[in-house]
């Protein structure tokens, strides 16, 4: 009986209702997240799934780089894991900003739980694949996620929605800043992981991508000979 009671009340069991609550930006849902058991695990699962979905949605880069099928799957999976790490850094910096900027004192774990669920709209990230309409979908999902995050943050603290936005922005800026300072090594490390998994050195610069798309075509080489258009010193008009 006890077991049943616990299972009926865990975040995992309530997964879909919680997720749809977040979709609707329902403040009650955010409140209940913190009180449910297993909500930490579940929130990380949400982030992981969102990461998977979004990376899949943006997988065109892997295709352009001609990654093999099973490496493709691995790459998407690794990217999703990296997404989770990135998320945690961001939560941490947001939490720090909230603490210093607004003098708030709430547990980090609560922020992790709430913000994790706020990523729910990104579960639809796979829709970005849809040609032409994918890009507007990405924009809509991003705004939706941001709204969910701000709502979540303001629910677990006493912040107004605008202050919550400021927190998010501050956290994001702090993250960018720290990435500039210490992030190069991390970036190099992650990109080497990604390249290793993909089995090729992934090229992401637009110029090189364009070059790649022209590779293999029998394009006549541009003549590097500079035509002698001035002639010798002896030949001249008087």
């Amino acid at each position: 009986m006890l077991i049943i009671a616990i299972t009926t009340d865990t975040a995992i069991n309530q997964f879909w209702s919680l997720v749809s609550g977040v979709f609707l930006l329902d403040a009650e849902t955010f409140k209940s997240i913190n009180n449910l058991p297993l909500s930490l695990i579940t929130s990380i699962v949400v982030v992981l799934l969102a990461g998977l979905s979004q990376t899949f949605g943006q997988s065109v880069m892997l295709f352009i780089n001609r990654v093999r099928p099973w490496r493709f799957l691995l790459s998407v999976a690794i990217a999703a894991v990296l997404f989770v790490f990135n998320y945690n850094f961001w939560v941490f910096s947001t939490w720090l900003v909230a603490k210093w900027l607004f003098g708030l004192n709430f547990p980090l774990i609560a922020v992790i739980k709430t913000l994790g669920f706020s990523y729910a709209p990104l579960l639809l990230g796979f829709l970005i694949v849809i040609p032409y309409f994918g890009m507007p979908i990405l924009i809509v999902l991003s705004i939706w996620t941001l709204l969910a995050i701000a709502t979540g943050l303001s629910t677990i603290s006493n912040l107004t929605i605008w202050q919550a936005f400021e927190c998010c922005l501050g956290g994001w800026l702090a993250l960018q800043l720290s990435q500039r300072v210490v992030g190069k090594a991390i970036a190099r490390f992650t990109s080497s992981i990604v390249d290793w998994v993909a089995g090729v050195d992934l090229i992401t610069e637009p110029d090189y991508l364009e070059q790649m798309l022209y590779s293999g075509l029998p394009i006549p080489p541009l003549t590097t000979d500079i035509p002698d258009l001035l002639g010798d010193s002896q030949q001249n008009t008087q």
Binding site: P131, E210, D225, N236, T237
Partner: protein, 947 residues
């Protein structure tokens, strides 16, 4: 009948609503309504989910193909050249290839009934030398029909056979069009379809680089697919491409500006095509920076109505059974329009994108050029071909003559332009009209092919003509206009006089002069050195020739004709003979250029003060700081007081002795020239907004030559004028000093202050890597030639305009930037040069080369402040002939990115300083309204802003 029906209906409704059965009815209705609603919701859901699924799956055919997931022996994304080699043997070499891309109803190679009929009719009516290519599945990157070798092939086969399910094919293919439009997948997808098209063209014998025209006909979604493939086809086949969009769905995301012309055929009842623009922001007119709007404003898109015609199937453009009020059917009309486009001849465009609007209220302004050529002495026919001279007159070049533009019908035969030989080492050719062609040398041909373009005047070009600007009107609607044609046809009359160098004469089967250098525009075919003794009111002048024995002007006396020139539209006289005998320059003499008229009287067309070109500076300034300061703010000082005079100042940053420095200028030296001119002030002051005189900038080349009449060394200057079309009729081309400056009618010597800075820098001298000879200024000459040829055609729009992003100075500097890149690339990549450097690391030439690299990088740093302009990086993106108003955002961004080359004098002075800092000596040759005395004008220095 109607009454009876109404009666029955009334009876039925009475029975229905008033009878006791009423309750039952209502219950039944409620149930049905509920179920119907659910049914609607359910089917909506199913449709929604299938749409999302179809959308999710759509990109993967193209993506998987590119990533090589489908396997196969050969890398699917590599197009082999075997066709080219195979077809070279066959060499069918048709002049025109036509590729048809079908609409989105396509599931297999089989055409729909109407499509097949269309193709049949088209094939029947096409001239026999055209090659039509069909049987391409535009909606599969691997050209694979839906009904073959696919997991769902059976399903699609069934769909094909089932009458009412065709919309599924439409849906599937519509998503493929969306893939082509998508900025992420589009490049891959379009590469795939382009590869199929290229492959088919090569199979049918297309020879890359042959310049044979390719027309892509895209029906419905095929319109988008054709435009998507264009950049790849253009790059691989170097072909001119025209696109006919037949009720085409076009996103505007493509490189539509790369096509020579787009004909957009739309029916008036075609809801699909009319709705398309709503879906694609780049087709909205407020998105001014989109390629679509750019192409539109450049006059590259012709909008053609198909009449009251729908999008497809019944009542569509291919329907043979749907009739117009005049009795003709839709298909016949469509075929007729397409045929008119496909078979049009040069010079005539049945569907122009822009037309001259003669309804304009303002009256047409007559160009200065038109006024000038009313004077007989400004026309070539004033000077008879047969000329004889005594020793005092010498020809200015070995080969001279007049360029004549061939008629449209003669173009393919002439393969260039006609040349009326006026002076030649081979005397029998004089007076003959021969062919003038480019040499067959591969590097020359590569250059020639690069600047070939189709010309269609834009609306703005027509407006320019109305405003009195001289445009190449004879070349309008010509395809593949080449550099010689754009030179000969730059003005409405055949009056371009040129000198030719490196001429090869071919006599069989007809006389051809083959050249490997751009012709140089000259004024005056013969010249003499004289001092004016008296100018008579009759416009004749008494002159005394130079006597090389005495070194004085005590030679033979002569009478020459100095005709009164025609004033420009502001009333300014380009030259005057008034008080020319009192000019301080008369003592050292004038070179006079011209020819004899019918009466045998030498008519002076251009003059040049001898002292200006002598290697005798009036002043030498030494020291790096002093010379830099001089360039910085002193050389234009006191310009008003110097009216009628010249300056010859030698800047010597290296502190050499005067004689040593002057003696370093040796016969045969080829030196870079920086040219600027200023404004016209005084009573007839020219209009200058905010009192800013922008002036003008160009590069040029000076040679040190031994002048045969005096036996002394002198500078001989020519310019690479990147010059927008103008009222005077000055052409963007290689212009000799006599033409651009000295010409008494068309030149600026008498009316503007001019500075030519001659740059002497050892790193610009010739290099010799064990026989591989390289002259660095060749790269600049090459890039300038290209730029000038493009200016003459306005990149196909017929006109160029001065604006912040494109102007004489911006585009001369662009040419310089490209030349630097070219030079650096060659030094880095040429194996022979690399090997030479490795074996001779300490050789002075290696050190000189290193200094050339450093100099080039310094210039690059100066030109590019934070990043290179997008259109400088990729020459394909650069488009001249676009005005600020046509694409304001791009223009402003571009202008700001290259702000260092925005103003002529700023660019000139900063280049001058860089050269000084790299050890160059600069020789400033300045003239301040030289010749006779005109009391109504004053020289004004070009405005310098910043620094």
């Amino acid at each position: 009948m109607l009454k009876r029906i109404l009666f029955v209906l009334l009876a039925l409704s009475v029975v229905t609503f008033l009878s006791p059965a009423n309750v039952g009815w209502i219950q039944w209705y409620a149930v049905v309504e509920n179920q119907l609603f659910n049914l609607l919701i359910d089917s909506g859901r199913i449709i929604g989910i299938s749409l999302v699924l179809a959308g999710l799956l759509a990109p993967f055919e193209a993506l998987g193909w590119w990533a090589g997931w489908y396997g196969g022996k050969q890398d699917p994304s590599t197009l082999s050249l075997k066709h080219t080699q195979a077809s070279l043997g066959k060499a069918t070499a048709a002049p025109h290839y036509i590729v048809y891309l079908d609409g989105i109803g396509k599931s297999s190679f089989k055409y729909s009934f109407r499509g097949a009929r269309f193709l049949q009719r088209l094939t029947e009516s096409l001239p026999s030398d055209r090659i039509l290519i069909d049987n391409i599945i535009p909606y599969s990157v691997i050209n694979l029909p839906l009904t073959l070798n696919r997991p769902l092939a059976k399903f699609w086969l069934w769909i094909e056979r089932t009458t009412n399910l065709g919309f599924l094919v439409l849906l599937r293919n519509m998503f493929q069009v969306a893939v082509s439009v998508d900025s992420r997948y589009g490049p891959i997808y379009n590469r795939g379809t382009a590869e199929i098209i290229i492959d088919r063209l090569l199979t049918k014998g297309y020879q890359p680089g042959s310049g044979a025209l390719i027309t892509l006909i895209g029906y419905s979604g095929g319109g988008q697919i054709s435009l998507g493939a264009v950049p790849y086809i253009k790059r691989v086949l170097a072909a001119p491409i025209e696109v006919i969009s037949l009720a085409g769905v076009i996103s505007g995301n493509n490189e539509v500006v790369q096509v020579e012309h787009l004909y957009h055929l739309v029916g008036e009842k075609d809801r699909v095509t009319r709705f398309t623009p709503c879906l694609f922001p780049r087709r909205w007119s407020i998105i001014t920076w989109s390629n679509w709007n750019l192409a539109k404003s450049r006059g590259e898109i012709s909008f053609i109505s198909l009449g009251k015609v729908g999008h497809d199937s019944k009542n569509g453009p291919l329907d043979e059974n749907a009739l117009f009020p005049d009795g003709s059917n839709h298909l016949a009309r469509t075929i007729e329009i397409i045929l008119r486009i496909l078979t049009r001849v040069d010079g005539y465009e049945p569907y122009p994108a822009a037309v001259a609007d003669y309804s304009a209220k303002s009256e047409r302004i007559v160009s200065d050029y038109e006024n000038y050529v009313k004077a007989k002495f400004n026309r070539p026919d004033f000077y008879p071909l047969a000329q004889t001279y005594c020793d005092h007159y010498l020809p200015v070049a070995e080969w001279m003559g007049r360029l004549i533009l061939p008629d449209v019908t003669e173009r393919s035969q002439v393969g260039g332009v006609y040349f009326e030989v006026h002076h030649a080492p081979e005397l029998d050719l004089i007076g003959k009209k021969v062919y003038l062609r480019w040499s067959d040398r591969p590097d020359i041909q590569a250059y020639v092919n690069q600047v070939k373009i189709r010309i269609d005047f834009s609306q703005q070009a027509y407006k320019s003509i109305h405003q009195g600007i001289v445009l190449p009107t004879r070349l309008n609607h010509w395809r593949q206009v080449q550099a010689l044609e754009s030179l000969a046809g730059a003005r409405p009359n055949d009056d371009v006089m040129v000198a030719l160098t490196s001429v090869e004469v071919i006599r069989e089967p007809q006389i051809i002069l083959s050249i490997s250098r751009e012709p140089i525009l000259i004024t005056g075919k013969y010249y003499a050195l004289v001092s004016f003794k008296e100018v008579f009111p009759t416009d004749y002048a008494l002159v005394r020739h130079y006597n090389h024995h005495s070194g004085q002007f005590d030679g033979q006396e002569d009478i020459v004709y100095l005709p009164q020139v025609v004033p420009d539209r502001n009333g300014v006289l380009p030259a005057t003979a008034n008080k020319i005998t009192e000019s301080p320059l008369n003592q050292t003499g004038w070179y006079i250029y011209g020819a004899k008229n019918e009466q045998g009287m030498f008519t002076v067309q251009a003059i040049a003060p001898r002292a200006l070109f002598q290697l005798q500076p009036a002043k030498v300034i030494s020291g790096l700081q002093k010379t830099t300061d001089y360039i910085h703010d002193q050389y234009w000082q006191g310009v008003t007081e110097k009216k009628g005079q010249i300056d010859s100042i030698l800047l010597n940053p290296g502190n050499l002795s005067d004689t040593e420095l002057i003696n370093s200028y040796q016969e045969g030296d080829r030196l870079l020239v920086l040219h600027t001119y200023g404004g016209i002030g005084g009573n007839k002051r020219e209009f200058a907004p905010l009192n800013i005189f922008f002036g003008h900038f160009s590069f040029g080349l000076a040679r040190v030559v031994r002048e045969p009449l005096t036996q002394e060394l002198r500078f001989k200057i020519g310019y690479g004028q990147v010059y927008t079309q103008n009222t005077t009729g000055i052409i963007a081309a290689s212009l000799d000093w006599t033409n651009f400056v000295g010409d008494r009618q068309f030149g600026w010597l008498g009316s503007r202050p001019i500075t030519d800075i001659i740059v002497k820098l050892d790193v610009f001298e010739e290099y010799n890597f064990d026989g591989l000879r390289r002259f660095p200024l060749n790269a600049l000459a090459y890039q300038l030639d290209r730029m000038m040829a493009r200016y003459r055609t306005g990149d196909g729009t017929g006109a160029t305009f001065v604006g912040p992003a494109n102007s004489c100075v911006q585009d001369s500097c662009q040419a310089l930037y490209q030349a630097i890149n070219m030079t650096l690339t060659e030094i880095e990549q040429n194996p022979q040069i690399k090997a030479w450097i490795t074996t001779n690391p300490q050789h002075p030439q290696t050190q000189r080369l290193q200094r050339l690299v450093t100099l080039n990088k310094a210039i690059e740093d100066q030109l590019i402040t934070w990043q290179t302009r997008a259109d400088w990086v990729d020459p394909y993106q650069s488009l001249i002939g676009t005005r600020l108003a046509d694409s304001p955002v791009t223009t402003v961004v571009n202008a700001l990115t290259s702000w260092r080359s925005l103003l002529p004098r700023l660019a000139n002075d900063s280049l001058g300083s860089i050269f000084l800092n790299h050890g160059a000596s600069l020789w400033l040759l300045q003239t301040y309204q030289v010749g006779g005395w005109d009391k109504d004008i004053e020289p004004i220095a070009p405005t310098k802003l910043w620094i």
